[in-house]
């Protein structure tokens, strides 16, 4: 066998086709067991950290001296540091780890392939998390770049890119060696996500950090990246999770499934053009703004398609949705996707953007997309995935209830606070007769509401973390015990011989 052929054979992820389907599926689940635990647990840790940092930032908007005179002398706790640090912890720590776990698992299952080489995934996952740690730490000590979503220093990018490649290659390999039969829509979305992200990330780093473009072209490249990182990485991954979990748990196929292809193609066509929607009335030529506004509006097409798919399917099985822990989160995410995308399209219009731009409203829009849609969908998928991967049930249903209600209510309060507060902030800001200080003071009540919501969200995540650690911890302990038993058995056997 030539070296190349042996390499190919060593990564060929197809399970033994002689096995019955049931055995093959549990082989696939088992092949991803510990990588998934690594990604989910580290992701949940980043999620907690990011939320805490965001919460501290929110408190500082109400009480700038927080957390006291002594700590104010600590530069790392200043508002301009914890905001980007929290954002990066959420995006690259939680978001990417969650997509790695959920995306790889769904891809492997739908393709009927397993992930063969475990060692590489552990190393890559470890390197990814180390890179994020390095990046977030750098931001906190003040050696980041001032480009939103790309704040990590340029040196971190190669580390992240390399570990990403080692992880994402498994998704591509799974698709390459997939079993016969029709390709499901989740596979399209996941393949797209795993292929788009590296391009988008490298082009963003290139034009912003390594060989910066001149003037506002740089800002354009930065927003092109940020918009695509969300729209072509987190969004398709979450849509794939919804498309997978919803019919699966309900036991009924997606309604109007034939439209989903249209949704995917439209998403792929329009999302990349929306980058400049963050620069409306900004220092870029007006045609660039117009094209991005038009693309944001055209993005309503895939949104309507997914809305039809998701909501008609969920509606038909509404009672089962409410009974399923997975689907509560999944359907919450699906609804949020519809609403957040509509908000996104409307706020891209010039006449609305003039009020919402630069205000807390857009912060709320970000939270709506990243938290109420993406994160909730990921929670749902994780609730579905972990018992199957670990062959063990979640330890506590009460904690799942607590998680759902606390995060659901919490994010709802945050959104209400930021949307209402942001809108009145924008209206006041555009009225030059309102002194700036007065409009800042007027935002206080809504900022307090956002803090309360944030606390609830954090509480819910603590419940999730507790449940997760108990589940993974017991599973790990059992695995360790069985390994020990095997080892001692072998040792005994040898002694006997």
């Amino acid at each position: 066998m030539s070296p190349f052929a042996s390499l190919v054979a060593s990564v060929d992820p197809r399970p033994d086709t002689r096995l019955p389907e049931r055995a093959r599926l549990s082989q696939i689940d088992a092949s991803l067991r510990w990588p998934v635990v690594l990604f989910v647990v580290s992701g949940a840790g980043w999620l907690m950290l990011g939320t805490v940092l965001g919460l501290v930032a929110a408190v500082k908007l109400v009480w700038p001296d927080f957390p006291g005179i002594f700590f104010n002398n600590l530069e790392v706790l200043t508002y301009g540091r914890i905001v980007p640090a929290g954002l990066n912890a959420l995006v690259y720590g939680w978001g990417n780890n969650a997509v790695f776990a959920v995306g790889l698992w769904i891809m492997a299952r739908l393709c009927g392939t397993k992930v063969k080489d475990l060692g590489m995934l552990y190393v890559a996952g470890g390197v990814w998390n180390t890179g994020v740690l390095w990046g977030v730490g750098s931001i906190l000590v003040g050696v980041g770049t001032p480009v939103e979503w790309l704040e990590m220093p340029a040196g971190v990018a190669p580390v992240l890119a390399a570990s990403y490649a080692l992880i994402a290659v498994w998704a591509i390999l799974c698709f390459r060696y997939r079993q016969e039969g029709p390709v499901y829509v989740s596979q399209w979305y996941l393949l797209g996500a795993f292929l788009w992200f590296p391009w988008v990330y490298l082009m963003g780093e290139l034009m912003v950090a390594w060989a910066p473009a001149r003037g506002t072209v740089q800002a354009l490249a930065g927003w092109w990246y940020a918009q695509n990182a969300f729209g072509l990485w987190f969004t398709p991954a979450a849509l794939a999770a919804i498309y997978y979990c919803l019919p699966k748990v309900l036991g009924r196929p997606i309604r109007h499934y034939y439209l989903s292809a249209l949704g995917f193609v439209a998403l792929a066509m329009f999302t990349p053009w929306t980058g400049a929607r963050h620069l409306i009335y900004g220092p870029v030529p007006v045609w660039i703004q117009t094209v991005s506004i038009a693309a944001s509006m055209a993005l309503m097409l895939p949104v309507v398609v997914t809305a039809l798919n998701f909501h008609t399917t969920a509606w038909a099985g509404a009672r089962d949705v409410w009974r399923s822990p997975t689907l509560r989160f999944i359907v919450f995410g699906a609804l949020s996707y519809t609403v957040a995308s509509t908000v996104g399209a409307v706020t891209a219009l010039r006449s609305v953007s003039v009020t919402t731009e630069f205000t807390q409203f857009m912060t709320g829009y970000g939270a709506h997309g990243f938290y109420a849609f993406f994160t909730m969908a990921m929670f749902g998928a994780i609730y579905f995935m972990m018992p199957r991967v670990l062959e063990r049930e979640w330890p506590s249903a009460i904690l799942i209830h607590a998680h759902f209600w606390a995060t659901g209510l919490g994010i709802g309060m945050v959104l209400v606070a930021l949307y209402l507060g942001g809108w009145s902030q924008g209206v006041a800001m555009n009225d030059a007769s309102v002194p700036f200080l007065a409009l800042v003071k007027a935002m206080l009540p809504m900022n307090v509401l956002a803090i309360v919501g944030g606390l609830l969200v954090l509480l819910g995540q603590a419940a999730f973390m507790l449940n997760l650690l108990a589940l993974a911890g017991v599973a790990a302990a059992m695995e360790l015990l069985s390994l020990l038993a095997k080892a001692s058995g072998v040792a005994l056997g040898e002694e006997g011989a």
């Binding site: 829509v185 036991g251 009924r252 997606i254 009974r323 049930e393 330890p395």
Partner: protein, 80 residues
């Protein structure tokens, strides 16, 4: 006046594209092509998690759908 060349340049090809797209869709649906898109909709279901089976139920037990077996194949299953 307002409908100058500048705008016609955008609208004429746009309309053309749109009409051809609409016609293509019409033809595809009439020719039964849309059925091909539905072939994938059951790809999510497997032997152990088949269509027609609701997999999770909060209300049954304190723990979700706890079953007597520890095998992954039975997890979360509530239907018969």
């Amino acid at each position: 006046m307002d409908w100058d060349l500048h705008r016609l340049l955008v609208i004429a090809p746009g309309t053309l594209l749109l009409c051809s797209g609409a016609y293509a869709l019409y033809w595809a649906v009439c020719a039964g092509r849309s059925r091909d898109f539905t072939r994938g909709e059951r790809a999510v279901f497997t032997e152990e998690e088949p269509e027609g089976l609701v997999l999770e139920d909060f209300s049954r037990t304190t723990s979700i759908g706890a079953n007597e077996t520890s095998s992954a194949n039975a997890l979360g299953r509530t239907a018969d």
